[in-house]
Symmetry: C2
Subunit: 137 residues, 2 copies
């Protein structure tokens, strides 16, 4: 968890981080949840073109800076975005690898559907095929 | 909206449906939101293998039938699942096309990242290339 403000390294916050440590499955939940908000997708779209400071990210968004920071918290918790504070400027970057579990889940569904269609196609082909002739051997 | 219970066709519910009518963007929000819950993903995984009744879907889930119906509401609102009630049995099916906008969004991000890496590669190749020799013409 980055140093977004004071008190991030207190015992309470460390305990909170430990309790919040996401198992693999929860990670997928978090990525889907993070991407369910259009403003968070705008942030990811912007960061896909290159790193940006928090104020650059906030500029096109119709909300206060604290609201943008809240969205960035959600994106960082999902692993999609990471950030680094140098001096007074926090620079955010996208973490393309974090999308992988979500891509895998979607592509597993797609191949499951395609297998079903294939089986249906085979079934229809068999139903339409001429019955085997007798006495040709 | 399917006939999940009584009162679905009242003026208030029709107005609510009209106000809730999703623009394209909100559709993507709903699909991401629907998939952010592990139990809803279990339902979609099950339906990817073929249609199922509500009680079949409920069987492996650690929750009450009304809770499952709530999850199905969210999945139907997202367009990922559709259902049909024949007699007393509601049969649910998956709607693979509903995943397309989400797949497109993810693949657009991926190509954006790949373009960036490509440009970086070109830049590094140019930096490493020997400077052009003079007086060879």
């Amino acid at each position: 968890m980055p140093d977004w403000g004071a008190g991030e390294h207190s015992a309470a916050s460390i305990l909170k981080q430990m309790l919040n440590r996401p198992p693999r499955r929860e990670g997928v939940d978090r990525v889907f949840h993070a991407l369910a908000d259009p403003n968070r997708r705008v942030i990811v779209e912007r960061l896909s073109r290159g790193p940006a400071s928090v104020s650059e990210l906030a500029r096109p968004l119709p909300m206060s800076l604290p609201a943008v920071v809240q969205h960035l918290h959600v994106l960082e918790a999902s692993g999609l975005v990471r950030s680094e504070k140098i001096g007074r400027v926090r620079t955010c970057r996208v973490e393309p690898a974090a999308l992988r579990p979500v891509e895998q889940w979607i592509s597993a569904r797609r191949s499951s559907w395609e297998r079903r269609l294939e089986r249906l196609g085979e079934y229809l082909a068999e139903s339409n095929a001429e019955p085997p002739k007798e006495g040709t051997g």
